[in-house]
């Protein structure tokens, strides 16, 4: 056992950190630090900077633009990115549909889609959930009927993150209504410009617009847009969901948030001293740091074990990372809101055009209550925490 990274790994960390320092545009860095949302251009700009460097999709196989880094290097890269803090690549392309295309797609599909994902020429969104199919995803009803060389898609997806920006959506459709529910599903790529698609915004409780309903009304899609075989889409979905889960611990991002929390707690005052010197509050911060350190160690153990894992089945331990990661992020968002005391109250965070009056209270306060409310989502999406515990019970405990 050795806690230290090797000299090579440390050198790698320095290289990555230096690159981020020198290449992440200031405006984008500031947004993350201040809790202001990125706009589409921020994410596109950063992705193209990474792509130019050859670091757009380090976890992909080398032949498709990956870097061939070890699991530890990938971990370091991600952590540095979150701590920079830089926008993380849009997950729907690089983490979700990209790996599915690589694992299940045809060569012509790889040639067509992968380079455009790397460079974020295409903005992807994930059309899995439906009003009646959330945790029970396999009960989805959106149908794709074969008509010659096309599928005709009808139905509704919901909670579709960033569909309002999307060029493409990957959808799970039912192609066989007679089969067992997991066995009649097909994975199809759909151009958002196809006639018959309607996107309707859903506003979340913090006032922002990230999710949407997407309606399909006789949407005609070429059969060649299907990934893998008809009725075998569930294999793609399971593979994708496993990847989604393991990306969700967000240790680096939480470290950045803890630092932000400490910064704010040293600017806020309680009585005659800074809040950070209040023992009660300092202990609350320390308690969450203990949790975070433990999660980091757990994640490192998972990463280290990956070096020797066979096949591409995700480690069921990734459910532990998802649960703890979400609880820690939510806990930090709670402390950030608590830190500003009564200044959680004013609603002055405008997501599109920022409030252009002077802030009520401290200028760091506006995003914090909305973030607390918004981050309740983290224990709901990506497989809710209850579902993750079911996975632990079945896959790890054999119950």
């Amino acid at each position: 056992m050795d806690l230290r990274f090797t000299p090579e790994e440390n050198a790698f960390r320095d290289e990555v950190r230096t690159f981020f320092k020198e290449n992440l545009p200031d405006g984008i860095r500031k947004k993350a630090a201040e809790g202001i949302r990125y706009v589409k251009e921020d994410i596109v700009t950063w992705q193209r900077i990474l792509n130019k460097k050859g670091w757009a999709v380090p976890h992909w196989p080398k032949e498709y633009g990956g870097t061939g880094w070890s699991p530890v290097q990938l971990y370091i890269f991600k952590e540095e990115m979150q701590q920079a803090p830089a926008p993380e690549p849009l997950p729907f392309g690089t983490m979700m549909v990209g790996p599915v295309i690589i694992a299940f797609g045809r060569e012509d599909q790889k040639q067509k889609y992968l380079p455009r994902i790397r460079n974020l020429d295409d903005w992807w969104c994930q059309g899995f959930s439906e009003p009646g199919a959330g945790s029970d995803l396999a009960s989805l009803k959106t149908s794709a009927k074969r008509e010659g060389d096309h599928y005709i898609i009808n139905g509704q997806k919901t909670w579709t993150t960033s569909a309002q920006y999307a060029d493409w959506i990957f959808v799970l459709c039912r192609t066989d209504t007679a089969a067992k529910k997991q066995e009649g599903i097909t994975f199809i790529l759909v151009d958002m410009k196809t006639p018959g698609i309607t996107v309707r915004p859903i506003q979340t409780i913090d006032g922002s617009h990230e999710v949407n309903e997407v309606f399909f009304d006789d949407v005609k899609v070429p059969v060649e847009n299907r990934i893998y075989e008809e009725n075998k889409g569930w294999d793609c979905a399971k593979f994708l969901l496993g990847n989604e889960r393991s990306g969700i611990a967000r240790v680096g991002a939480s470290k950045a948030q803890v630092r932000r929390l400490k910064e704010i707690a040293s600017m806020e005052r309680i009585g005659d001293k800074p809040l950070i010197e209040d023992e009660r509050f300092a202990m609350k911060i320390a308690a969450i740091e203990v949790e975070l350190k433990a999660l980091e160690m757990t994640q490192l153990r998972v990463v280290a074990a990956e070096r020797t894992r066979k096949g591409n089945r995700p480690d069921p331990a990734s459910s532990i990372l998802k649960i703890k990661g979400s609880e820690i992020q939510q806990g930090i968002s709670e402390l950030l809101m608590e830190a500003i005391g009564p200044y959680a109250l004013p609603d002055q965070f405008r997501h599109d055009d920022r409030w252009n009056e002077p802030p009520v209270g401290p200028d760091y306060a506006p995003p914090l209550a909305p973030q607390y409310f918004n981050w309740r989502k983290i224990s709901i999406y990506g497989g809710s925490n209850e579902i993750q515990k079911n996975i632990i019970a079945k896959a790890i405990l054999g119950l």
Binding site: S139, I202, P342, A344, L345, P346, D347, Q348, E357, S384
Partner: protein
């Protein structure tokens, strides 16, 4: 020991609940929020007609002579309805200060107008640096002839944007955080030197920043004892905390009911999700938190008129701690058990969650009151002699 309502109180409860269930559904609330004041003048009129704005005041001032239990009944119903109107600001806070501290002349002139719903009030007290310390007042009051000259910046005044009169705290002497030397003054919101900036709050209500620049007030506008108004501030704030506790219980109760209904209706994996034991237990934990909060809201109500300030403060702090903690358990649970739908602005549950969360930040959050209670030696009793 009696936790039952009297016949009259039951009647009040029925009529307020009838009004809010018939006239304050979620869709209507959205329309009220879009009105110029951010709340409904028509609803306010209904409250007046029902006698709610007159509730706590003496009959000689056009009131009904109700007590804290009556206020609790109204606030709980408002919590269920997520009512937007300035009842807490005008009747509980503003009215409380006038009734307890204004001169007879001012009471005789103003209270009937407050009771009739014609005059709106707000408490302009919090300052940027104060956090939750009620004694942290930097605004100043300087003697000016028979009256005073007020200067300073007040923040987060609930419904301060619409108030006709403001109850302003300012310091006559002493250090910025001293309990001695604070005065309270009745200020016309349109007086020279007063400027206001209103804004919405996270829970859909309204508040204001208020600046005072050489604002003149007369001798009659003093509330309580100049230089010794702190006990009055505590006292009226305690009534407001009791009222907010009742409101929070109304909101939590509604949130819990909606969630349990949803567990029965929503199907996944071919069964109502309420079949999953882990969700049953969480709904059970939420109920426990709700009932503990309800008990403490009752304690706060019954203790809010207690003359012994130390005993009163302990009970109020204990209640505020419980409300804050229960609010988190019920609110976070309600969102989680709903899944995605709970996260949406279109659905009611999130609005309850936001209101309950914001109530925790008013007049001291759970941590603030826990520390205060610990300093007061707790609430159960002294160490046993062994």
């Amino acid at each position: 020991m009696d936790f039952e309502l009297s016949d009259e109180q039951r009647l009040l409860k029925d009529s307020v609940e009838r009004l809010t269930t018939q006239r304050y559904d979620f869709e209507t609330r959205k329309k009220f929020m879009a009105e110029p004041d951010g709340w409904s003048r028509a609803m306010w009129k209904q409250y007046v007609d029902l006698g709610l704005t007159a509730l706590p005041f003496a009959e000689e001032h056009g009131g009904v002579g109700g007590g804290p239990v009556e206020t609790m009944i109204v606030m709980e119903a408002f919590g269920r309805a997520l009512a937007l109107e300035p009842y807490l600001a005008t009747v509980v806070l503003g009215g409380g200060f006038l009734a307890r501290g204004a001169s007879d002349a001012v009471k005789g002139e103003l209270l009937p107008k407050v009771a009739a719903g014609e005059t709106l009030l707000a408490f302009a007290h919090i300052e940027r640096q104060a956090r939750y310390d009620l004694a942290d007042v930097a605004a100043t009051a300087k003697k000016d002839g028979a009256g005073y000259l007020l200067n300073g910046e007040k923040s987060l005044a609930l419904h301060g944007d619409v108030a006709d009169r403001l109850i302003v705290s300012a310091r006559l002497s002493g250090d910025q955080r001293s309990k001695n030397g604070i005065g309270l003054f009745l200020v016309d919101a349109k007086a020279a030197g007063v400027s206001r900036r209103g804004y919405p709050t996270m829970d859909g209500l309204r508040a204001a920043e208020i600046s005072l620049a050489n604002v003149k007030v007369g001798a009659d506008d003093v509330i309580g004892e100049p230089g010794n108004a702190y006990p009055l501030i505590e006292r009226v704030t305690d009534s407001a905390i009791a009222a907010l506790a009742a409101e929070a219980v109304g909101a939590m109760g509604a949130m819990h009911e909606i969630t349990v209904d949803y567990l029965k209706q929503r199907k996944q994996f071919g069964v109502p999700i309420g079949n999953f034991q882990v969700l049953q237990h969480r709904a059970g934990d939420m109920l426990i938190a709700l009932e503990q909060a309800r008990s403490m809201a009752m304690l706060a109500t019954m203790m809010s008129e207690e003359e012994n300030a130390a005993e009163r403060r302990k009970a109020i702090s204990a209640a505020k701690v419980q409300i804050g903690r229960s609010g988190k358990i019920v609110g976070q649970g309600a969102i989680q058990l709903h899944g995605g739908i709970g996260m949406t602005m279109e659905y009611k549950v999130g609005h309850y969650f936001k209101r309950v969360t914001m109530i925790d930040t008013m007049f001291g959050d759970a941590d603030h009151h826990l520390a205060a209670l610990a300093r007061m030696g707790g609430i159960v009793g002294k160490a046993s002699a062994s």
